[in-house]
């Protein structure tokens, strides 16, 4: 039987990593992720967790050490945030292209400048195209569950891709909530030992990381993309198996009171819980409104999203990041995913919650009202940002 305990999300992640019985942890502490490596280091130091903890000098080295561990078949974990993820960037691509199933938890943090330790999705959006399986958590339970699940899916011999588990810095990473912790025997049933088929071994020499000339590089990338797209099936299967053992079932696109709704608000991460409060209030007043939350960000859940918006008139996408010169990255993806739909809903993008700016239920009310207004009348504004002071310039920048 699982027990219910009050845990900070960061500590819930550490518990999941411990129960996954990782072999190697290599991490560099950075706000707001610090509590995760701190807790894991403590677990290793006091003998609770038999793993090798490598205190490295940078995030670039943190992930590099995990790749080395993975190459010999060890279960490897790292964690970072914001600038740390950007410093890692080169190795982030190497991990997915060499197919090392490292699990990395990111406590999403805004990027400099100006320096900000607070949350938004700018860090992970810069890693959008790196070929990692990417999921976003809403609460502490999900932080625990998806961390455990990440090992199960990434290490599956039909997948072999690294997995990023995103939790919003502070607004999720530092929150204390009740979490169901399962029995170790249940975890062992869900998560088999990592059996990496290409582990480096002097008795069986092979080459990892060979050069790819122009006459082979395209083939290598197509093979990677095909395998990545196919991993969606195992992602779903992993969630089904998780639900069957632990009783909590997850899906790529969560629908909240969305049935029959004319307008849908689409969010990712922990701010979704606040947005749900707004949806409840509006529904109580008779508004035809629901919410979609993207849990799976990569591989992008095209099919599930298309199903979720069938018959919907307007989709209002809320982004916590600006792709400079373009707008909100989630907005752009959703728009492109739904472009071929007949009939196609109106899709509106609104940005907010940058660098830790709070989003209240009233703010989401504004997102809904302004979103509907834009869907109806259009907008010539260059960008829509919740609560920004000063009049917004037009699309031409005047």
């Amino acid at each position: 039987m699982s027990k219910r305990v009050a845990l900070e999300a960061s500590h819930a992640v550490a518990e999941a990593v411990k129960m996954a019985d990782v072999d190697v942890i290599s991490a560099y502490p950075i706000t707001p992720q610090t509590h995760i490596p701190e807790r894991l280091a403590e677990m290793v130091a006091n003998g609770e967790l038999k793993a090798s903890y490598i205190p490295v000098e940078s995030e670039h080295s943190a992930l590099s050490a995990c790749l080395g561990a993975s190459s010999v078949g060890a279960r490897a974990f790292t964690t970072t945030a914001g600038q740390g993820l950007e410093l890692m960037h080169e190795v982030v691509y190497v991990a997915s292209s060499m197919r090392y199933p490292v699990v990395m938890v990111i406590c999403n943090r805004a990027l400099s400048a100006p320096i900000s330790v607070w949350g938004d999705h700018s860090d992970v959006m810069a890693c959008r195209d790196t070929g990692w399986i990417q999921v976003f958590c809403e609460n502490n339970q999900e932080a625990f569950d998806l961390t455990l699940w990440a090992f199960r899916v990434g290490e599956d011999s039909r997948v072999l891709f690294p997995v990023m588990v995103n939790l919003d810095g502070f607004t999720l990473s530092h929150v204390i909530e009740p979490v169901f912790l399962p029995e170790q025997s249940e975890v062992d049933r869900f998560l088999p030992k990592f059996n990496y088929p290409f582990a480096l071994d002097p008795d069986r020499p092979m080459t990892h990381g060979a050069l790819g000339l122009p006459d082979l590089y395209s083939e290598a990338k197509v093979a990677q993309e095909v395998a990545f797209r196919k991993s969606t099936g195992i992602i779903l299967q992993g969630w089904k198996e998780f639900g069957d053992i632990f009783g909590r079932y997850y899906c790529p696109v969560e629908s909240y009171k969305a049935e029959g709704a004319k307008t849908l608000l689409l969010t990712m991460g922990s701010y979704s819980e606040t947005a749900k409060v707004t949806v409840d209030e509006r529904q109580a007043k008779g508004d035809s409104l629901g919410l979609l939350r993207l849990r799976l960000w990569r591989p992008f859940p095209f099919e599930e999203l298309r199903q979720a918006v069938k018959g919907v008139e307007t989709v209002i996408v809320f982004d916590r990041c600006i792709s400079f010169g373009m707008g909100g990255p989630v907005f752009s993806e959703v728009k492109s995913a739904l472009y071929g739909e007949e009939p196609r809903p109106k899709i509106v993008g609104i940005v907010g919650g940058l660098g830790g700016r709070d989003m209240s239920a009233e703010d989401f009310g504004y997102v809904i009202d302004r979103g509907k207004e834009i869907a109806e009348k259009g907008s010539d504004r260059i960008l829509e940002v919740v609560g920004v002071r000063g009049e917004m310039v037009s699309i031409r920048g005047q």
């Binding site: 292209s97 020499p205 060979a210 000339l213 395998a227």
Partner: protein, 102 residues
């Protein structure tokens, strides 16, 4: 990958790529033809050659073969035409010749 049967990249489709592009067999670099990007080739003048073996020692790719009588010869399947052998030869027995002049 069944390297023993495949000799050039053009024999590979994306389906033949191993997970993570791992090369699962050891010691198969000899199957890869690396001599096809050469623009100059070394030509050894046997009359001048003193059979000292420096070209054989210095070749970074092991592309110099020892032939009958203790003489040396470039293996053009691998030779990339870098010219180190011609540069190191103490008796100037090796000349680099433009491929298109051959």
């Amino acid at each position: 990958m069944a390297q023993e049967k495949l000799r050039t990249a053009y024999d590979f489709t994306w389906r033949d790529m191993e997970v993570g592009n791992i090369v699962t067999e050891a010691g198969n670099a000899s199957l890869r033809r690396t001599g096809d990007w050469r623009s100059e080739r070394p030509v050894i003048d046997k009359e001048k050659c003193s059979r000292c073996g420096r070209c054989w020692i210095y070749c970074p790719d092991g592309a110099i073969k020892i032939i009958d009588g203790g003489y040396y010869e470039p293996d053009l399947y691998y030779c990339k035409g870098c010219g180190i052998c011609a540069n190191i030869c103490p008796v100037a027995a090796i000349t680099m010749i433009e491929e298109e002049e051959i």
